[in-house]
Symmetry: C2
Subunit: 398 residues, 2 copies
């Protein structure tokens, strides 16, 4: 057989298994509760309405042919129209030419990074940051700098600034308006493309969320802005359809559309059609239910953390999204704790998976999205007992 | 606004609009018949059966949750199982670990090129070749060599050899077994990855098609082979689902799965489920109907070419697929002819779009897939009259 590994491109060499996946084979109790994945709960999918939309589209033979055929590379025109209307309803100037439909927001991030990052390009990110984005940045050879370091540095020169300012994965935190302006100023000062990743925006638990950075940037019109905004239907509707989108200046959108065309032609046509039709009820009817249920789960997790870890650890109080970020005492190694916890029936993502330089050894990302409140309470109870076992186990070595 | 064009990566700079798209704005008669696109005819989609499959999946709430949720990056396990069974039924050893489900075969080509080609890598291709693959190769900076030149050369050193040996897009031709062995020998001699692109395999008009190159290569087992095979459901079922696949050694498939994960996570889940279910009737019941209808169309086009161009041009006689490749007298510029033809109500892809070095100026790719036989006859009649107008117009300048 050919020695294919010796033939890999530099890009392919830099693509590595995610740290999260490496943990999947760890021994665990049979009924382990997994607080790892950032997935929506499938029990909350609006299955009946989706089935009805598809049945309607496929009953009419003319519509069915459109639904199953190729469509334009930038995405199904009615979906792009409705997405631009969504942005207009939030006060942004927008037309369908400002929208590129992507195969999930993972692809949106990959397209922007492919377009603007190459080996050695400097990219600033929040710390901690989304592991999936970090994987993409590493694959493209980015020189990653934390935002804090970026603010301190002079001169400030970046190809891309990547932020998840709202209900961040993994921290659950939301940047306030002052910090959003500071990030925008950094982008403007360095001429960087600012990639605003906003997959959790629909899952908000409070009345007001700060304006998107893109809307701060687009005060003089979207065409003059340097922010590319991405979101997805993966949390608000379902992830299996793989429909996300990019919103930004039409000139950049046109270029990114060429990349998308070269890489996979287009997002699925029927998926886009379902998303377009579902937009008529997703934000008005479905998302309010999701918010209520996910807030209940967040509250259950926060309450259980208080009961089992009060005074011994810190954690964030997310105003939306799927994640709580927990910080244990400094001597705790979260990967070692995970091995103990898995045997006691609970798993999570260790903090180091969310840093490009191995920080957050004593931190945990805890997801409250996939389990109902009672299960989350049991999970945190198990985590508390795993933590106490771990403390005993390591007491001798300290 | 930021000067984003100056910030583009080398990769993004190399991604250019396809020559085919540049022609879309050409003035044309209102009822123009387009022989350009390599699309299946949506009138032939098995809409009722697809609707039934989806209705079944979404009626059961457990199945619906699976259908709409994330799935594993390599693809839905039942689909990979059935695809590996398909390869086994054709005499190849295969398990689901040999299969990566992609978002169409365009992505399969892009993944393989991303993995094994970087600026300066030498890649051998048939000439003419599929414009979409050439776009990918150019984007990744490949040094493209025609197979003919590659056979003549010594030493032979290639990163990738890309071929569409069966019912080629654009030529409609099929490599015979001797030529397949020669291509395989070239790959073995140069240690190259051999990418066998086989999107049209189901659309065959004759009883026997030569064995795939992968099956010649995998005589000692798929794990020892250096061929990656890709095909798609875009022609045999529908393109809108964006489901294709790669089949090859499990070690390479694992690496390509990591690239896929980084780039867009996975192909659409419901789309994969439909493909998996549809495999129970696609090859046994649906494909025979497609073959019959597309053969009728091929015959209509070949007959009309004989009537309108007999003695004045040459063309291929495809044993399957969607395309006839036509060669006009050497002085004819197909792009100039296209301008005349569009005004007379027929369009096609000029041959230069299918060459990396501007060859085939006097050639045309004619697709018979999207129009019924009578329309094709009218189209070739118009093309004949456009050709005669063109000959008169240019007679003075010769």
């Amino acid at each position: 057989m050919v020695n294919w590994e010796s033939k890999l491109s530099d890009y392919a060499r830099r693509v590595e298994p995610s740290a999260i996946f490496a943990l999947l084979d760890m021994p665990r109790a049979p009924d382990t509760i997994n607080l790892g994945p950032g997935e929506p709960d499938p029990a909350l999918f609006p299955v009946g309405r989706i089935a009805q939309i598809i049945a309607n589209e496929l009953t009419d033979s003319g519509r069915a042919r459109t639904a199953l055929q190729y469509t334009v590379n930038a995405g199904l025109p009615p979906l792009r129209e409705r997405l631009s209307a969504l942005h207009r309803s939030r006060g942004l100037p927008s037309s369908k030419d400002n929208v590129l439909v992507t195969s999930g927001s993972q692809q949106a991030i990959d397209l922007v990074v492919s377009a603007f990052v190459q080996p050695g390009s400097r990219v600033a990110v929040q710390s901690p940051t989304y592991p999936g984005a970090m994987g993409i940045l590493k694959a493209h050879g980015a020189a990653i700098v934390t935002l804090d370091d970026a603010f301190r540095e002079a001169p400030r020169e970046f190809a891309v600034i990547y932020v998840t300012p709202t209900f961040s994965n993994p921290s659950g935190e939301t940047l306030d308006i002052a910090m959003r302006r500071r990030v925008l100023d950094l982008a403007r000062g360095s001429g960087a493309i600012l990639l605003e990743d906003d997959p959790y925006e629909a899952i908000s638990f409070e009345d007001a969320t700060p304006s998107t950075i893109q809307s701060l940037d687009a005060k003089n019109g979207i065409e003059q802005s340097q922010t590319l905004y991405t979101s997805t239907f993966s949390k608000s509707l379902t992830p299996g359809f793989r429909v996300g989108w990019l919103h930004g200046p039409s000139s950049i959108i046109r270029k990114l559309t060429l990349l998308k065309q070269s890489e996979d032609m287009q997002a699925g046509t029927l998926s886009q059609l379902v998303a377009a039709e579902a937009m008529q009820f997703v934000y008005s009817e479905h998302v309010p239910r999701l918010r209520e249920e996910y807030r209940r789960r967040r509250d259950a997790m926060l309450g259980a953390l208080e009961r089992h870890f009060g005074g011994q650890a810190k954690w964030t109080r997310p105003a939306g999204g799927f994640f709580v970020w927990m910080t244990l005492p400094e001597h705790v190694d979260a990967v070692a704790l995970l091995r103990v916890a898995a045997l006691q029936g609970v798993t999570f993502v260790p903090g180091t998976a969310c840093s490009h330089r191995g920080e957050y050894k004593n931190c945990l990302r805890l997801s409250y999205s996939t389990n109902p409140a009672a299960t989350l309470e049991e999970a945190i109870c198990r985590l508390g007992s795993a933590f106490r076992s771990f403390q005993k186990l390591t007491a001798g070595s300290r």
